[in-house]
Symmetry: C2
Subunit: 156 residues, 2 copies
Amino acid sequence: MKVELWCLGKNTLKYLDSGISDYEKRLKHYVPFSLEVFSIPSAKKNEIPENIKRVEAEIILKKLQPTDHLVLLDELGKHYSSTQFSQEIQQYFNHVNGRLIFLIGGAFGFSDDVYNRANAKISFSKMTMNHLLFRLVFLEQFYRAMTILKGEPYHH
Amino acid sequence: MKVELWCLGKNTLKYLDSGISDYEKRLKHYVPFSLEVFSIPSAKKNEIPENIKRVEAEIILKKLQPTDHLVLLDELGKHYSSTQFSQEIQQYFNHVNGRLIFLIGGAFGFSDDVYNRANAKISFSKMTMNHLLFRLVFLEQFYRAMTILKGEPYHH
């Protein structure tokens, strides 16, 4: 199974780059994985969030294939402990046929079209986090999940 | 009021340093703030977690003053949205007389002595996160809380 993390907009917090590529490399020891960063057109000053989310939705939806299992990383999603999250991933590995795609939204979240296409929603926190920093947080957690599934000593 | 973030053990993920000092600087525009990193003796190989936590507790407890308001950042703590977290911080600003100290544990969490001294426990996530990465995550969230309290446009 191919796992992909989809993100919107280039990373502008340069200090995150080494951490992101470190966890990306580590993950590839466990599963075919890629991080895909999609360019989004710069929004007009004072553009309303609905319009920004609509443009982002078009970019995402046209890249999806019908067999893709789309998991939104969304404040309103289901909360898991690290162990429960690893079990959920194991379920995906057992049952999903297409690509497993985790999607991190832009600064304003997702449009209804994206919510309607999603197969699942997972929340890492009730709190809103910078969406660029969240890329690193997700990768660390997904790596942690892999080590839990393998019984390796990273997770206490 | 003085706010401090207390952490155990030097940061070994060097790529986090610029992010941490960036948010540290930004925070100081809003509130007297400092990040304190306490050295901990290297644990013996296969040392049991209880012993590691006991050593860490001694380091912490002897640095605390009786008027300090100690908030543990702990998986078992209370969950807040970013807005609720900012309101909680406002409550601290209104009512706490001593220092407001947020404490991030080591890789194994806290000993009972530290739990017993704590004034509050806050959880950012049901998930376990690398405690070094969590320093940056906390700073970003605390900065976000400050901008929410000031009505500034960082938080959507």
